[in-house]
Symmetry: C2
Subunit: 361 residues, 2 copies
């Protein structure tokens, strides 16, 4: 039944994790559907308030009694000078005008409530806590372990995977360069360490003893079998679920996912201040000519929030952050359970034919 | 015996191609060793004169009676203005001084002898002709077919693969972003289309009917099985053979290959004028600050030739082009036949365990 070290640990049927796509796509419906289908759903809770997280977890639990994960962003201290922030904010007024919202002279607040978010995760009795952008303190890791919560961290290089294992994680997500959304890099410049999944997974597998979850460009049963061959214990798929029926992604975002190609994405810092892969937009094109410095995350994220929200209201994809990976031609608008099922069925057939390939004559 | 559509077509034992690494590594010894071990050796002949190609082919044939490939670069017309070239040439004098060679005021000639190179390939009775950087004319493709020579072209996107199939190639090399050396892109900006192997291979497989050869980040039996799972009919490995005993790579280049990590490379145009992935060097670091335009290939290649040759003489890797892919931690200094054998043995074991994984309980 395609059991691996990790499926046993997580008590799930198939080694398929749904990526924690923060910012809307991971509705309680999507998370629960993936878990009910035998995979592991994940709530991308990085941008949610503690109360929103609590509500989402409870909504998920109404829909499934199977394990699921909650993902948070490990905060960093931004160090952008005030005038750099002001320069960006003023530059963005041109785009605010274009999208039909008021100019902004005051710098928006950016809430950081990691401690409070963690508290909810600890209280709400979940199976897996995953995180991105760094490593939580030893105290946090210890609290999670005491509650019996399994911990997964994201690595984009071998060194990051080693650091995560040393910190005590139960599994490492190896995020290849194909992956959509934010780069999880925390030891190196996130825009520079774009190691492809095919190269990254076996090298991480060779250097850690915890199970490795392959992510980046994996869209179907072929990607699942390929990842297991590379030594991964499971896969994480994001883009594959982005246009699914249960996904909370905006309708025009889903449309773009379904109509874009493998070469439609770029890695950019302009939406949030952190490198992330998304479908190329008019906003990305314009910001290529921006001569100032892009403020750190989460400042830039706060600065562009009103623009992204307005774009969403008027269904203008050119100002949305259309996070997506390089497997775009394989995205489907089916139900999440159907995507899990197809992936598993295709993988079964493939592993059978791979077994035959291995017979010596 | 791990037979695929392509191994039958090529009459080789294992679906393992050695990448045609131009500029030294692919000695007749390396090419013949890979072919004798049951794979397909490739002569990277792009930079060789017609006479050098003829001699190399004859040397290979002395060492093996098995099939092998010869790879050429499809020429493009460079369009760099004279003053841009002169500015670069004058800037490079700083580096010529540093490496201890005379400044250069005249612009070096760049020989293009594609027609003459092709003539040798047609005359010398080889099995496979592969090419990079574009598509040869219909006349050339026809001549090859008339001689019974199999043709393989390089694609970095789905559209390039479709164009290659339409031109009549027998196989498409899907070059993922992990790959070392020159990007084979010819329909789009080569520095921009960095699609990871995990994402690229299945998408190309879905859009062409000729066999697909996976390349980029593939270093061992795990990469072989993963690629076959993605739908490839064979793999192409370059970096895996770069530090092999038979490789003609410079000793300090081999040393760097063996001591570098997955995040040690960058894609750069500064050596040749075309985007290529190599281990980061002092020359690459310095050229980041170059404010002019980098001349097109093959002009820039001609401009940096004396510097690279001098660096080679004094064993200074900082001025060499240390082309390498992102699988660097898995490179080995064994004999090429040993690398082929290890890859096959590991793949056999893996396919067997994959077959078991596919059993439903």
């Amino acid at each position: 039944m395609m059991k691996t070290e990790l499926t046993r640990k997580l008590k799930i049927e198939y080694p398929i994790l749904q990526a924690p796509m923060a910012g809307g796509p991971t509705t309680p419906d999507l998370v629960a559907s993936v878990s009910n289908a035998g995979g592991l759903g994940s709530l991308g809770a990085g941008y949610l308030s503690p109360e929103q997280i609590r509500n989402a977890i409870r909504e998920i639990k109404k829909r499934t009694d199977r394990p699921f994960a909650v993902n948070l962003f490990v905060p960093e201290q931004p160090s952008t000078p005030e005038d750099t922030i002001a320069e960006m904010n003023s530059y963005l007024n041109k785009h605010r005008l274009e999208i039909g919202i008021a100019p902004n002279t005051s710098i928006p607040k950016f809430a950081e409530w990691f401690e409070e978010q963690l508290q909810v995760v600890l209280e709400e009795n979940i199976t897996v806590f995953s995180f991105t952008f760094g490593i939580p303190s030893p105290g946090i890791i210890k609290s999670m372990k005491q509650k019996g919560i399994l911990i997964a961290g994201t690595a984009t290089t071998v060194d990051e995977a080693i650091a995560l294992e040393a910190a005590g994680v139960d599994a490492v997500v190896a995020q290849g360069s194909e992956a959509g959304g934010h780069r999880g890099s925390f030891l190196t410049n996130s825009a520079d360490t774009l190691i492809g999944t095919m190269a990254l997974v076996p090298q991480i597998v060779d250097h850690v003893s915890v199970p490795v979850i392959a992510s980046g460009g994996i869209m179907d049963g072929r990607g699942l079998v390929a990842s297991l061959a590379l030594g991964a214990s499971a896969i994480q798929m994001g883009t594959a679920f982005l246009a699914s029926i249960e996904s909370g992604a905006h309708a025009v975002y889903k449309q773009r996912i379904l109509s874009s190609n493998e070469d439609s994405t770029e890695v950019t810092k302009i939406y949030s201040g952190k490198a992330a892969r998304g479908i190329f937009t008019g906003f990305m094109k314009d910001m290529r000519c921006y001569e100032g410095t892009i403020p750190d995350y989460p400042i830039q994220n706060a600065l562009t929030r009103d623009i992204r929200q307005a774009a969403s209201k008027v269904s203008n994809p050119e100002y949305m952050s259309l996070w997506a990976g390089q497997g775009l031609r394989l995205a489907q608008d089916h139900a999440a359970a159907e995507i899990v099922k197809q992936t598993v069925e295709q993988a079964y057939l493939l592993t059978k034919s791979m077994g035959n390939l291995g017979k010596r004559d």
